[in-house]
Symmetry: C2
């Protein structure tokens, strides 16, 4: 990534997240990045591609933070589940004043053929798979066999997590991730 491209993607990411994708034009991105539109189009080819790289970049940074937190968590599977909610709280404090960028982008992108659509649904599917694998370990440590119970537990954790993302983004009540974490523990206990 060239310096100009980096500045452009940084500016675009901030502007897209704060104001929405359709509300931000390429002229504004170029101006705030201190870059000309020619550089933008030489590097990215289209606004659509900038959107894709914006979402991909957030996804990668989120997964990196999560991997880090999971690696540092106590080895018990249930602790890993709680670490996901802790990671989300930390992420939201640093990058999440306006909620989940994937949920927000989904509100603006109606066409499933849009290249950014796969990034959005891909992250949600990945999160569900993560919860599913954690749920399996909680229910049957050591075994990696699928079960309807694990799927159900994983989906419940996903509900709590997505709910916390929205409650936080809309400011419905304070510390949504803390409550979701507590409820996740209660759900895990109920399965034990």
């Amino acid at each position: 990534m060239t310096p100009g491209a980096g500045r452009a993607l940084d500016a675009a990411s901030r502007l897209f997240y704060e104001h929405g994708i359709h509300a931000v034009g390429v002229d504004r991105i170029a101006a705030e990045a201190g870059v000309t539109k020619k550089t933008l189009y030489d590097r990215f080819g289209s606004k659509e591609q900038i959107v894709v790289e914006y979402l991909t970049g957030r996804d990668e940074r989120w997964r990196a933070l999560l991997d880090e937190r999971l690696a540092a968590a106590p080895p018990a599977p249930a602790e890993h589940v709680l670490a996901v909610f802790d990671a989300s709280r930390a992420w939201a404090e640093a990058n999440g004043a306006r909620g989940c960028s994937m949920i927000n982008a989904h509100a603006e992108i109606d066409d499933p053929r849009h290249p950014a659509y796969a990034v959005i649904t891909g992250q949600k599917a990945w999160m569900l798979e993560l919860f599913t694998s954690l749920a399996r370990e909680v229910l049957a440590p050591g075994e990696a066999t699928a079960s309807e119970t694990a799927d159900r537990l994983a989906r419940t954790l996903m509900l709590l997590h997505e709910g916390a993302l929205v409650a936080h983004g809309l400011g419905v009540f304070p510390d949504a991730f803390g409550l979701a974490r507590d409820q996740a523990r209660a759900v895990l206990d109920s399965y034990a």
Copy 2:
């Protein structure tokens, strides 16, 4: 509401919900409603006002459906909580292929001073208050006294509900409202 205004608001509501607010221009609204732009601006004054009435209209229809379902539910307070999730499932089947219009609109409106912002946060606050009053009745039937326990239960129900809205809108897994309803029952039982 004059006939032309009604057609315009219907068209705007459908287009805003399906494609997003910024992606739909007033020319398109006018064309699909079979109305001229002059009629649009004579009746509504601005696009911003059309957005406000779009969200207000959905809010009112949702509350009407919910009131109806709550009135028809068994008298036990816990049944009323479950009826909220049932109402959401019914609403989503009829009007919710792209998720919650308030969450979606929030993704596109960054300015808290935007007149639509109050409609969005107002609906979420109202839902939290509904869950809170139901939680109080569940915990202490007949009494209307506030308690931290009731607030906590209400927020947990809110988490499950918002989570189901998102999981349904993004298509993360099938029947999110059914699962949320089952989990709500489990949470209610745990408080009993």
